[in-house]
Structure formats: C-alpha cells, structure tokens
Symmetry: D2
Subunit: 261 residues, 4 copies
C-alpha cells in the first residue's frame, strides 16, 4: 500500500507575494505533493493553515503515515491544540519531515525541546549540499553533492539537539555552513529536518530536492499500527507483577489511583 | 569557585503526608542540598514551589550553575512562564538534574519533546542499579551495582528520546527494568535524569544516591559564561558576509527586517 | 525482490555437543535460516566456519544484503582477511545482525572499536526482554515484553559504544540487567546486536526471537547499490575544485600523488 | 594536580622536509606540547615514533591522562602491539585527541571501527571553522567562527560513525565542507577528533587552534582511576548470584571454566 502522506503548507506567501505565486502558482504544498505523487509508493495530499483545524482533524491524522511541514510567516497562527495533536501522532509512529523555515514552527520546536535558531541571509547565493552519510536511505540515488544556485543562507550554530544522524551539510557562497539534513526519533516517530526551500526561489522544482523528500517519506514511514494511549503511565498492581512480590513499606497512592502528572 | 546549585523541591508531600515528613523533616530538597553541601566543590541552596516565582526569579537563575528538580503531585502548578525561563537557562548553559517523578515535570517534558511516560508500582520492592557506562564521571566512586531495598518501580518503555549516554539501568524485584540514568544535551546545557527517589522511602539518605547526585552536579557544570540571546536568529547582511557576495534574485524581507518566528 | 540473507554459523558446538545437536540437529544456522525463510520477503542461505573462506567468498558477499552472525567457541579461527572483507561489506551497505556470543566475534569487535565484554552465568535462568523503543521496526509485532524461560545470563557493563538506539533491555532472574538489542551504523551498513541465543537452550525455536531476527533483517537492508571503493581517500585537484581557487603556499605532495595511509 | 598529557608526534616530515622543519624547528609535537604547557592545569610531554616502543611503554601510558596524536607519513610503522596498548588505555579511561591526518592512524581507525576516509586537496586555501555546539567545553573562549588562511582541504563524506557531538564544521574556499570537531566515547575514554593541522602550514601556532587543543585535553580528562582488566568477561557463579537462583537445564561450560573469546 502506498505511504499516505500529507503535505502541510502555510500558504501565506503564495497568496500575498507575486514572486512566490509566480514560482508556485498552485502553492508550495501542491508542488511538493506533486513531486511525491510521481512515486507510485506514495500517495500525497495537501493541507493548509486556512482550512478548519488547519486541515489536520483527528481522523485525517490517524490515517496519515507521514506529514511534511512547510511554514514561515504564520508560525504563531498555528493553534497549540493542533500542534499537540501532531506531536502525539509523531510519538505514536507518524513520520514528520520539516522543511526549511519550519525550523521555527511550533511543532519542530515542540519536538526538539530546543530553540532551533540559526543565522540567515536572503541574497540568492549558491548553496552546495554534501552527503555526509554515504548511501543513507534519504540520500539514495543522489550524487555526492548537489547545488542550488540561489538559496537563502542558514548558518550555524543551529540550535537543535545533536541528531541521530547527519545526512547533509551545506556550504554557502558567503562563507557559512549548515547541517542541512538531520534525523531524529521522538517516540515511535521518525523526524527529518531538511534545510532548502526558501519561498522566493524555485527550490521545490529541483530534481535532487524532490528526490530527497521522496526518500525521506519512505525512510520516515513506520509500518506498525499507531501506538495507543501514547502518553499514558499505567500502574502495574502488585497482584499482577510478573515475578511474585509482596508489598512492603508505606505508600502514597491508594489501590487503583491514578499517578500524578 | 564552588558550583552554585539550587535544589528545587515541590514541597507538597512533606507538608501533607506524615510518612514523608517523618523521613524528610526539613523537606526532601533540604536533604538533597545537605548531601550536596558535604562536597566543598558545591554550594547548594533550595527553592520551592510555594515561594514567589517558585523561588526561581531571573536574577537567581542567572547565578545558578546547576538546578536539581524534584516534583510529583503539583507538576501542573508550576507556571509556564517559569518553565520557559528554566528552559532558556538550560539552553544558555545551566546544568539540570531531574529526579524520579520529575520525569513528568513540565520542564523535563519541555526539554525532551517527548511524553516521558513509563509504568509504575508502589510496592516497596528491591531496586538494583547497574552502572552501564564504566567510570563515567557520574558513576565515579560507585561500585558496579548498588541496591535500594525499598523503592517504587518504574518500568520500560520510558518515553524519552534515545539519550547521549545510558549510565545506569535498574533491575526490579517484580520483573521490570528501567534506564535509570540518562544524559542529554539541550543547547549549551547538560541534562541528567536519575530515577530513584520515591517520597515514602529514605532514598535521598542513601550514600550511593547522594554520590550520584554530587557527581551529576559536577558533570553538568558548564564553566563558560551563559550564552546571550539564546533564542535569537540574527540576520547577516550581504554587506558583512565573510566572503564577498553580490545579492541576486528576488527576496521577501526588506533590509534590516526581523525574520519570522 | 527478497532480501538476500546469509546466516553464518560457527557450527562447532552442534558437531561436538549432544545437547546442542539434539536441539539443533541441522545446526543453529539452519534453524535461523529456516525461520527467516518463513517470510516471503527474505531469502536466507547458510555459511559456516568450515567451508572454504568460511563460506564468504568475495562474490557471495557482494550478493548478500544482510549477514547474520553466530559464533562462540572458535572466534579465533575466523581468518583476519575474511573479517576485514566482511567489515568492508558492512561499510559499503551490507546489513549485519550479530547474535548472542557473537559479541566477542572478531567482526563485532572490529566494528565497535571497543572490548565488547560483559559478565555471564550459565544457569538456565529466566530472561525477560523489555521493548524500550516502542514500535521500533525491529520490535514490530512483539508484545511489550517476552520471556525465555531458560537462558544464559549476560550482565552489564556491556563494553560497547553507546548505541544509536536501545531496542531491548533484559531482566535476569539472578539479579542482572543487559541492553539486549542495540542498533549502530558503520558506514552505509546498519548493525544490530541481539543478545539471546545460548546454544544449550532452544532459543532460536522461540517465535518472538525469530520475529526479532526477521524484523532486524528488514531493518538492516539497504536498498542502495553497494558503495564502491569504500576506503579510498581521493585527491581533488585544484583544477577541478568546485569553486575557483588558486594554489598558494608550500605543499608536501606532488601533483597526482597518492595520500599517505 | 595538572592533567598529565603526552603529545605523540610521528616526527618524520620535520626531519625530511625543509618547509616543515622551518615552521616547526623543534617538531610539531613540541609546538603542541608548549601550547598545552602554557596552561597551568596541564603538564605536557612528548613522545615520537622513533623512540623505543614509540615512546609509549606500559608504565608511561599508565600515568598518562590524555594522549594527543599526530601522524601522517608513517601510520604503517606504528606497531600493532602499541596500537592495542593505546586502545586499552583509552577504554580504561585515558583521553585521546586525534589531530588532522591522524584520521588514518591505526589507533583512530581501531577505535572507530570504520574507514575514516575523506577527500583532500593541498592548495593552501582558506578554512573557516564554525562552532556548531555553542559553549561546548571544547569551544570555551572561542569566537563563533575562526579562520585559518592556509590549510589543506578535507572534504565530506568523512567515513566515521555518527559522533556523540559535532563541535565544529569547516567551510573551505574551494567549495567543500567537513565535520572538523567530533566527540566519541570508547569505554571509559573520551575521544576528540580535530581536523586542522597540515604540516606545511603554521596551524599549531594559531591561538584558536591551541585553545581548542587545551580545551579538548581538559574535556577528555577522566578523574576516575583507570578501569582494571578492561577486556575481561568474568563468570558470575550461581552460588554468588545477587538473587537466589537454582541452576536448571544443560550447560556447556564446567564450573570455574573461562568463557570463549
């Protein structure tokens, strides 16, 4: 069965800025979804900020294997309740791909537990991405490096926890470097951050960028059914302990009581 | 100079429960602080939930090298603003030691980006902690394993990200295991989670437990001055790029404009 | 296409010890291979120490997607040349599953760069494996814990580098714990260590153990073609630098010279 | 007490090449040791390839807290026995700092379990190192980036396991990037790889480079006494099991027998 993927787009620049609208007439999210749908193993649809529940109602998330996230100007408009819902979906096994300015999205900051900040410059300079993890599934089919002739610069230090794996590191014409492809696990969910994708450049039309995102969707897919009650902390009564034990000493909780949270 | 340490205690059980008050007549936080102050390299004071700003005003946190956190019944009463303040202090370089039921504290969940849940049983059973990272600074001076004759059980799966290092793993009489000592980095701050410490047992009077916490304080200490503006994302204008570049192509932001967050 | 898997068995105990021969009349390797072949996505064959080149000639390794390794009494008889060949295959993208006493195999020690030692006891005691990484692909379809009524004890500290992920932790009846399922990357190759499997017990007939190994084979499979010249360190002459630069200052090497190794 | 540090230098280029001898008249190792001795917390001496046992007899290693390693032209001349001795010292708690072309030293490859290869160019181009881990102890006192006007280029992919922490990433004028500062643990020993230091440039006279190495020595220092018998795998007889158990089922080993290795 194809991997059910939702590409979430903020969809603000495309509506307000002629340059962006010119490059992405159907929106950045649609461009990305089209690139994913070119692979028979993926079925991608889109969701946007403006839809009810930002296009991410409970029922839809439950049937989403991988979520791709692009946001920038309206991070603050994403409702906290939806952010928490997405976080729980990730912990339960949904994959998450965070793109470019999504580094400052509520969901990415929520999952990283870190500031996720960086330095930046919008000068249309050259970016060259180097594969630092040879033949990583996310880099499958890529050359050892590839270039984006015009991109926004993101520079280190990138305020994220040390990743599980560093897949890409970027070189910028103006003298900076950036860890551009980073993998994480949060609960049962795999998370990938991928740097490129400034809205005023045609980055998501680039074949290598599209290949990375397709690979990342496959890498992030968890075939297990979603974890149930992913935040629960169940009590295991003495009577059902796996090894026979006898209760000893004082205790705070009464039998059958919930723990504090 | 001694490591300036603040032991934060929720201080609720000690006020309400005779068993806890009997074991910790001056409060758990004071017991822990006393154990830290037995080391000339550490100067420990205490802070509690009930104090203004929970005893953690900006000025005090700025002069705190390491914060030790114990909470349980009143996690929800800790103000979000203080949690965010502590998180920024950690990112800036303050060390953080989270104890036992602090796994469900707002600050730990905030920094982990994960549910931090587990299974539990309050039966006074035997716990045996095994050192899994030989001669780790946090295990310095410990035997290869040590026992707590009565403890609450915490069982896997522990809902945290894979750690930087696993320092202890616990064996429980009733048949469970738990990763009891885990290290993390969040920004410039070192974070250590240490499992033992149920309020109805004399765990913080145990010499090995006290040694672990003293070691952890030293391990978590960052000698560098605190990072300034730890969440800022500065623009680097073309004019001051380290390598000469010329601006090309369209851009979204005007010169001098702040980035979106 | 099915994942081409080779199960390597030392095949010594089965020939010398009646108990082992009784449990595994066709050898432990055949029992494991049969368990793998029950999955249509895997095609498993076997190789043993006694075959020429230990059953691992260059051509066969080149067509092996995942190698499963069980050894114990004859680690020292495995030729260094074959060990190096397997290491290069792993770096190039072949998956490797190391079982039980394989912790002391030359190949595992070679890839870990660490002593890989532990404590042990052969008393037929109960082992209970806990899943510490919920819904990890290697734990897919397993319950939250499962038991092996009789197993050899392996105890911490386990002398390996901190893993990428800890998937299982074992509880032992005699009071020890062990990190029983650990993932690593070495080059393009994924490596999984799985603890159970003492030769005098019917462990590899256990349905849960078989499921773990099947899952691990799928997890370790890298769909990319093997990395070529995986240890080479190519010179990039000035003339073909991606950004135009002019050679400056003294140099040690002449044009076209190889680097030192 | 000061940290007892040995700077190991291959000492070949300095004897054969006038350029190198001109920059480092007393040898690169002496230049580095002098830089370390400028810190009252460090006592550094030197050892070279040409000395008996390469200057690293058992007794000396036993009193070495941190070893710094620079080698290039004569990696193959380092005796395997000494390499193994150093590896065991690291596992036991000795810190190890590997510099520049030491990426291909036997000891670094031994500890990494990986090819440790890279691409390279000797063109005297500009290198700019970015701190990717803010206020990491190894970066203490450094600016956010610093430059070496002439250095050899090392390019990704760097064939090492994903590190515990990435402290520096380098930008090169010719278009490459490199993870220039990486931390690892191997047993009780902390390992740091630091990229700069080509022999035909005055890199080890650079104040920032010297500061990094001083910081790294302090970071790698383990105050615990050395682990004894670091590779042993002791049997734990049933009679002394921590929890009472009764031996069951068949076993392979006789009482008191050593395990296989």
């Amino acid at each position: 069965m194809a991997i059910r993927t939702v590409v979430w787009g903020e969809n603000v620049h495309e509506q307000k800025n002629k340059v962006v609208a010119g490059i992405y007439p159907k929106g950045m999210h649609t461009c990305i979804a089209d690139a994913l749908n070119s692979d028979p193993g993926i079925t991608a649809t889109t969701a946007t900020l403006q839809e009810p529940e930002h296009g991410l109602p409970v029922a839809r998330l439950a049937e989403t294997d991988v979520l791709v996230w692009w946001g920038h100007a309206a991070h603050g408009d994403v409702k906290d309740q939806i952010v928490e819902r997405v976080a729980e979906a990730v912990w339960s096994g949904m994959g998450l791909i965070v793109l470019h300015s999504g580094h400052f999205s509520k969901i990415f900051k929520r999952l990283m537990g870190a500031p996720c900040n960086l330095t930046w410059r919008e000068a249309g300079e050259r970016e060259r991405l180097w594969v630092t993890s040879r033949h990583h599934p996310i880099a499958q089919g890529l050359p050892e490096h590839f270039e984006l002739e015009q991109e926004e610069m993101y520079g280190e230090p990138f305020g994220v926890p040390d990743p599980m794996e560093t897949v890409f590191v970027s070189w910028f014409q103006g003298g900076e470097v950036f860890r551009s492809g980073l993998t994480y696990k949060r609960g049962a969910g795999s998370v990938f951050y991928f740097r490129p994708g400034h809205e005023t450049y045609p980055t998501y039309h680039d074949a290598n960028v599209q290949l990375v995102i397709r690979n990342a969707v496959k890498w992030a897919y968890n075939a297990s059914p979603r974890v149930q009650n992913v935040t629960s902390a169940p009590n295991v009564p003495v009577e059902v302990a796996l090894e026979p034990i006898v209760e000893r000493g004082p205790r705070l909780h009464h039998a059958g009581e919930e723990g504090f949270r």
